[in-house]
Amino acid sequence: MFHVRPESGEPIYRQLTRQIKHAITTGALKSGDKLPTVRQLAVDLVINPNTVARAYRELEHMGLLESGPRRGTFVKFSPPGMLLEERRRRLQPHIDGLIAEATVLGFTVDELVALLRKAARSKEK
């Protein structure tokens, strides 16, 4: 179900979190679905168990997964929270790019925010 490309330069745990999030957003994984154990997924994908554990941990922090001792790891479906997270994720590369570009061109954060406000206001009109 999941696959990793170790040579890509993107940390493997991030490839995993991305794919699990994608599976949840597209409905391939539903609330209450049980995920493979850390050990099982590590063996299946032949990757380090700590990497899997880190991916699960991050997704728990985001509120997408829930795990308890002996029960395993489950998908925790909370639409508003998930949608916000997903929306943020999609916006993030654009924000990063904008910040990088603004930094190179010598704008401060305040100036950038002011420009964004101004642009948004002129769009509203």
Binding site: P6, E10, A42, I47, N50, T73, A100
Partner: protein
């Protein structure tokens, strides 16, 4: 519990130095390995990887400094350490005329921790016929057999020197899934000395890169991937000043284009470079191969050639 918890240190090297005559094979190495981890030990031939492993086993003695393995001093407790640690050497010595099943009994008799069932299970899983003599086995099967007997000793720590040298890709996958299972309870660790960066990138969570006896890079692989970046800058830069920054690992300039590799805090680096008002700054991810080349290239000052392969 499901989640591995790495915390206990199983290997500790402090200022470890080894001279062979006037040649410094291991140069002031400080190094830790934690339980529950798989560490990839990388470096060009002659970088000191094998010597380091031999010192840990008490086979080679350090000129200065000290190492402990499972809390035991490597020099004084070599016998105990060799019993608790599984070492798979690069050259695998076996008894050609012995049958596989006889070899298992013979080998197992030396170790109190021997798990005969585990050994048989592995042989079955890896399709190694127990009725054949070792001489009749292919190179790959011999390598797997050696690995199986070392694993069946249930060692706390596995030290391996090029374990996949004679193995085909399918066999590599088979033994790696055993390794992954092996460390997943968080109570065992593996050190893998190898040239196969793709394998390290797949199953290791920590990486140590050695060059000319010293450690030139070490850390959590995911953290390394997050921190090591290549900056492609177009514009005028004060190269001599930038070279002094401690995060800089490489800097190569061609006309107005500069390629910079740094190993920490990419956002801060972007800001510092942007302060010179260049035309463009591009930040590129690095895979382990790029990190490796930058780490060993930097120390040797071999700036050309390597850069070409990084682009």
């Amino acid at each position: 519990m499901d989640e591995p918890s790495a915390s206990k240190t199983v290997v500790e090297a402090a200022n470890l130095t080894k001279y062979f005559g006037t040649v410094c094979a291991v140069d002031h190495v400080n190094w830790d390995v934690d339980d529950g981890t798989i560490v990839g030990l990388l470096g060009p031939n002659g970088a000191g990887k094998t010597t380091l492993l031999k010192i840990l086993l008490g086979i080679a003695h350090p000129t200065s400094g000290a190492a402990t393995v499972l809390g035991l001093d490597a020099e004084r407790f070599s016998v105990l350490i060799r019993e608790a640690v599984g070492f798979v050497p690069e050259d695998k010595l076996l008894y050609d005329r012995m049958r596989v099943d006889a070899f298992l009994r013979f080998y197992g008799a030396f170790f109190s921790s021997w798990d005969a069932r585990f050994a048989e299970d592995l042989l079955a899983r890896w399709s190694i016929p127990s009725f054949k003599t070792i001489g009749q086995l292919s190179k790959g099967m011999r390598a797997k057999l050696m690995l199986a007997v070392v694993l069946a000793r249930q060692p706390h720590l596995l030290l391996m020197d090029e374990p996949t040298l004679d193995l085909d890709p399918a066999s590599v996958d088979e033994i790696f899934s055993v390794f992954v299972q092996w460390v997943s309870d968080g109570k065992r660790a593996i050190v893998l000395a190898t040239h196969r960066l793709d394998e390290v990138e797949r199953i290791c969570d920590h990486v140590t890169i050695m060059d000319r006896g010293g450690i030139v890079a070490h850390g959590d692989l995911d953290d390394m991937r997050a921190n090591w970046k290549t900056f492609k800058v177009v514009g005028d830069l004060p190269h001599d000043e930038i070279r002094q920054w401690k995060e800089i690992r490489r800097i190569d300039a061609k006309g107005k284009a500069t390629s910079i590799v740094s190993d920490a805090d990419p956002l801060k680096m972007t800001r510092r470079l942007a302060a010179f008002s260049p035309t463009t700054v591009e930040v590129l991810d690095m895979n382990l191969r790029n990190i490796y080349l930058a780490a060993i290239g930097y120390k040797r000052g071999r700036l050309d050639g390597v850069l070409e392969s990084m682009v």
